[in-house]
C-alpha cells in the first residue's frame, strides 16, 4: 500500500461521524449555499524518516462550511461559528479511542486541531453568507 493512498477516504468516512443538523458532509466539493459543508483534505507531507524505513506523515484537513453573515453586531456571525467550533471539539475528543481506520500497515500517531488558524475565509459577494474553515491535522506512521 502506498503511503497516502486511501487516507482521504478514511478521513472522510471517519468525519461523517460528526453529528450535525446541516447538509450532508461531502469531500472536496464546491460550496454554494448557506448550510453547505465539506471536508477538505491536503496532500500528506513527510515529517520524519525513520532509520527502519518507516515514515511519519501529516495530512491537513478542514471542515469548510457556508453560513449566514452580517455586517452588524446581531450575533449572526458568532452563531455561524458554532458548528465549526463543535467540530474542533469533536476532533479533539476522538483521540485516542475513535481514530480513522487507515488500513493495514498504517498507524495514527496524532490527531489534533490547529491553534490560531483564521476561521473566516471569505465573505461571499451576496454579503449575507460567508465561508468558514476549521483546520486540523492527522499524523500517521507507515
Amino acid at each position: 500500500m502506498r503511503s497516502s493512498e486511501g487516507v482521504s477516504k478514511a478521513l472522510f468516512d471517519w468525519a461523517t461521524g460528526f453529528a450535525s443538523s446541516g447538509a450532508p458532509l461531502r469531500l472536496n466539493a464546491p460550496l454554494e449555499r448557506s448550510g453547505d459543508r465539506c471536508l477538505v483534505t491536503g496532500a500528506a507531507t513527510t515529517t520524519a524518516d525513520y532509520i527502519d524505513g518507516r515514515r511519519e506523515r501529516r495530512m491537513d484537513f478542514s471542515l469548510v462550511l457556508m453560513a449566514p453573515w452580517s455586517e452588524g453586531a446581531d450575533g449572526l456571525n458568532a452563531a455561524a461559528l458554532e458548528e465549526g467550533e463543535r467540530w474542533l471539539d469533536w476532533v479533539e475528543a476522538q483521540w485516542p479511542d475513535n481514530l480513522p481506520d487507515l488500513g493495514e500497515g498504517r498507524e495514527v500517531t496524532q490527531l489534533t486541531t490547529y491553534d490560531g488558524a483564521p476561521l473566516l475565509v471569505q465573505v461571499m459577494p451576496d454579503a449575507v453568507t460567508a465561508k468558514y474553515q476549521f483546520m486540523a491535522h492527522l499524523d500517521y506512521r507507515s
Binding site: A48, D49, Y50, I51, D52, G53, R54, T109, R141
Partner: protein, 155 residues
Amino acid sequence: MAKLTRNLFIPCIDTSDTSTPTWTPIDLSTIFEFAFNPQEETYGYICNANDSTEVTGYAPELPQEIVLDSANPIYAFLFDFFMGFPVGSDLNRKVLLCAPDSTGAVTKGYMWPQAVLSPTALNTVDGKLTFTLKLNGDKQDGTVAISGGNITFTA
C-alpha cells in the same frame, strides 16, 4: 549495484537479562551517524620536514534517539533503564550493528560486548528520548540472521 538504504543498517541492543541475547532493534529513530572517532598521534620524525599523523585506535559511538511510544519495545526498555539512573558497569549492554553484504542482504554483524548506553535527554515536547551508544572495547565480527522479528548474531 544495490543502493544501500537506511533500513539496511540496524542498530540493536541486547535487552535480555540472561546470557542469551535478545536483540531489540532501534527502529523509530531519525538519526544515524556512526562516528569512528579515530584516535590520532602526531610524530615529528627528523627525516621529514613535516609531521606525520598515525591512527592508533578508535572510540566509535553512535548517537541515537527513539520516539516516545509506549508500544515500542526499545522505548519501553530504555525508559526504565535510564530512569534507574545507572552508573558504571550498570550501563553496559551488548550492542549489535547489522549491515548489508555486497549483495545488499543484511547478513553482516558487528557486536560490541562492552558497549555503554549513555543517556542524553528525555524531550517530551519533541517526543524523543536521546542517548549515545558508546561502542567500547573490542568488537566481534560475525553474521546475522533476521527471521520475522528475531535477530540472531553468530561470531
